[in-house]
Each structure stands twice: as structure tokens, then as C-alpha cells.
Amino acid sequence: MIPYYYVIWLSLILFSIALYAIITHRDGITFLVSAEIILNASLINFVSASSYFDSLKGSSYALLVLVIAVIETVVVIGMLLVLSKKTGSVSFSNLRRTKG
């Protein structure tokens, strides 16, 4: 079986790719996709830790994170939809025009 740190490396590379995208783009869609990639990297980490350390805790956390990811996606999609109708752009730079 592969060493555990290979999985950590994989999560790390996925996290770096998503972090690069978040930092270099200002639009909401890239932010959403990058958040999905980061969450999936963390899910891989949880599931692999559960498998390697012979505990169901990691898988339980992974399931809870999965639910939170769904909630987050629904909220961000709703916000982007309203933002695009209001300002004509999904860029987060336009958030300063909003009320809050």
C-alpha cells in the first residue's frame, strides 16, 4: 500500500491549484470552483485518514463536510445569480455596490 504522505501530497497539490485560482481571479465562478476543489481535497484527506488509521471518524467528518459543501454551493450560486442581475458581472469587486 502507498505511504500515507503521498495522499497528503495529493491534497496539497490540489489545494495549491485552487489557491492559485482564487488569488489570481476575482470572479465568483472561479471562487466557487476553487472552493469545491479545496473541499474535495479535504474529503480525500479525511477518507484516506479513516482508511489508514482504521477509524470511522474520518469518514463521518467527510460526510458532514459533504453536506456543508452542498449548502455552501447553493448559497453562493444564489448570491452570484442576484449579483449578476444587479451589477451585470459576477466579479467580487462589484460587491461594494451592494447594501451590506
Binding site: M1, P3, Y6, L12, I17, Y20, D27, L66, V82, K85
Partner: protein, 158 residues
């Protein structure tokens, strides 16, 4: 290196490839296609780690629900609003993060274990230990649904 290790490296390669293409593709159709494939490989990775239940949940929730929701949500947005802006000069930050974390991962982790956990009592374990958390998440999900519907329907909500 046996077949089991080879499968991990193939899945990892696909994951990195699809993640990189998802964040760098310019056309939205390609973006959704690569995200779909990325999530498909993540489900494969779960099944590789013997978490079949989570793999199927990933397939149903992410590939079936989230990707469809994203596709429909983006198609409802005005086309001119979907231009992607670039800030290339900030790319040094993730490179630095990767370098520091790689250094820590290389020198401060040990390879160990090699067990496969049994998922036969997963449901009982989940509801015995995290039942309150699941209830809180369920309430959060319902309130999120209601607030999102309010946000979309009310024109001047933002």
C-alpha cells in the same frame, strides 16, 4: 510497485490534470465538463480507499446535483457577466504555500499503517456519535434553502 499503487498514481494524475484544467479553462462548457470529470475521479478515489458509501454519495450529490445546479445557475446569468479576470502577479503566494507545506510534509511525516477500515457499522457509528450535529446540519440546510429562495426572489435583497 503493485497494481494497487499504480491505480492510486493514475487517479492522482487524473485529479491534478482535471483540477488544473477546471480552474484554467476559459469556456464555461469545458469548465463544467472538467469539474464533472474531477468529481468523478474523486468518487473513484473514495472507492479506492474502500469508502464505497461515500463514493456513491459523492456521485449522487456532487455529480448528479451540484454540477447540474451549477450548469443551470450559470445559464441563468447574463452572458456578458461571465468574463474571467486575471491577476497573474499574485501567483507567487500558492507557490510559496506549496513549497513550505511540501517541506513540512517531506521532513515531518512518517509513512505508516496499512489497514483497511471496515464500513459495516458506519451508520450506527455516525448516528451514535454525531446525531446532534446531523440535526443541526439539517436545520441549517433547510434555513439555507429558505434564505436562498428569498434572496433570489427579492430583487433588492443584496
Amino acid at each position: 510497485m503493485d497494481l494497487y499503487d499504480t491505480v492510486f498514481f493514475i487517479l492522482s494524475g487524473f485529479l491534478i490534470f482535471f483540477a488544473a484544467f477546471t480552474v484554467s479553462s476559459k469556456k464555461l462548457v469545458h469548465w463544467i465538463l472538467f469539474l464533472f470529470l474531477f468529481l468523478l475521479v474523486v468518487a473513484g478515489m473514495f472507492i479506492y480507499f474502500n469508502a464505497v458509501f461515500l463514493g456513491i454519495a459523492e456521485l449522487i450529490i456532487y455529480n448528479g446535483g451540484i454540477v447540474l445546479l451549477l450548469a443551470i445557475g450559470i445559464s441563468l446569468m447574463p452572458e456578458e457577466s461571465l468574463n474571467r479576470s486575471d491577476l497573474k502577479y499574485l501567483s507567487i503566494i500558492p507557490i510559496l504555500t506549496l513549497a513550505i507545506a511540501a517541506y513540512l510534509a517531506l521532513f515531518y511525516t512518517k509513512s505508516q499503517l496499512v489497514q483497511q477500515v471496515s464500513y459495516s457499522g458506519f451508520g450506527i457509528f455516525l448516528f451514535q456519535n454525531y446525531s446532534i450535529l446531523i440535526a443541526v446540519l439539517a436545520i441549517t440546510a433547510v434555513s439555507t434553502l429558505i434564505s436562498t429562495l428569498y434572496l433570489i426572489n427579492k430583487e433588492d435583497a443584496l
